[in-house]
């Protein structure tokens, strides 16, 4: 169960979001710059709404009326950023294991992403597609209960991309990971029976439809 009901305001953005769904996978789509990434940041705890609540899979992350605001590091979220944000001072393996606990699924994720040969490489030497794969692996190794993916497939070859999404979908379902995805590929959403939510601006206020 996903329950978002919050108001967020800053000088350049005014947002009033209401989403209630039982779907495990949520697709967010809309014009670029409309505020989709801001919603993911709210879920991750990197930004705070002024009012309302955020409740996902039975966990109350934020509730303004009760002064609840769980710190980002305690939300067990895996976040694949649009700009990836890999740690350039660490190699690929150290990036992937950064958030991993002792009990983790490192080997499984490396198999899933098929990045065995990248492990000892320097972050700066990776191609765009490789970087995206490493970034996805880093978010998954820590066994997150929520996965946030922000347009993170575009640099991966088309041919390999569909195959990867299929495998990822399998992993998400198997591990019951609630997933939010920002993507332009609506066809994928339909294929994997995800909840599609359009984010748009109405009378200057960003809303979910």
């Amino acid at each position: 169960m996903i329950y978002l009901d919050f108001t967020y305001q800053n000088p350049s953005l005014s947002m009033q979001i209401k989403v209630k769904t039982k779907s495990q996978i949520v697709f967010l789509y809309g014009h670029s710059g409309v505020g989709k990434t801001t919603i993911l940041k709210m879920i991750a705890g990197l930004k705070q709404p002024q009012y309302g609540l955020i409740d996902i899979a039975g966990r109350r992350f934020f509730d303004a009326s009760k002064n609840i605001n769980i710190a980002p590091q305690l939300r067990n979220v895996g976040y694949v950023f649009q700009d990836l944000r890999l740690f350039s001072h660490l190699n690929v393996k150290d990036n992937i294991t950064f958030g991993a606990l002792k009990q983790n699924n490192f080997n499984k994720i490396i198999d899933l992403m098929n990045i065995h040969e990248l492990l000892d490489k320097n972050i700066k030497s990776l191609s765009g597609g490789e970087s995206q794969k490493v970034s996805i692996a880093r978010a998954l190794v820590k066994n997150p209960s929520i996965l946030l993916i922000d347009e993170s497939f575009h640099a991966i070859d088309k041919e390999y991309r569909d195959q990867l999404i299929k495998k990822l979908h399998h992993h998400i379902i198997e591990n019951q990971i609630v997933t939010f995805l920002i993507s332009h590929q609506l066809s994928d959403a339909k294929k994997y029976s995800a909840e599609i939510i359009k984010i748009k601006k109405e009378k200057g206020i960003v809303v979910a439809e």
Partner: protein, 222 residues
Amino acid sequence: MIALSDYEITVLLLSIKVASISSIITFFPSFIMAYLLATKNFTGKSLIDGLIHLPLVLPPVVIGFFLLIIFGKNGLVGDIFFSTFNIRISFSWIAAMIASSVMGFPLFVRSIRQSISEIDPKIIEAAQTLGANKIKILKKIIIPLSKNGIIAGFILSFSRSLGEFGATITFAGNIFGETQTLPLAIYSSLQDPDANLIVIRLVGISVFISMAALMISNRLNK
């Protein structure tokens, strides 16, 4: 290679001892201060920022005078040390080290602060979402990414200590084997009409060490 005399060796070893211990001790408060200044906003920040920079702009003799006032037998801190531990700080190598530390502190803070503020806050957000708490972020992100600033800070404060004169002679005196570091030894030898050769040799040693410190820092920064 010209062999060093016992006098030169004593002066040299003392200088290196004072410079290295003072830079190591200064590192911890410098890092904390640099971290606070680079990442936090608090009331009185600009006042603290100004106070930290005082040793850079005040004449070193004035700093030495303040240190005497604070750590001297009649001073605020010195009195406590004298009455409880029966220790006198002024005119000891500890005093020379304190003088060096105070003079090196702003240089240390500046260079660490610079490199901490260059760290992209987005990277820190990423680490947070990966479950890292403040200590882990400090250990795994901030310290490694400010490594160059830390090294530069070490070299700067070490070199500042090797060149420190005014605060040291005021607060620690010019005592051979205890507080007579290279610049003080050069100063003393300048008073002696027969010591021209010693002056030249001491100046040579001083130039050599400073060059070596710079070269090591360039190496480490690569």
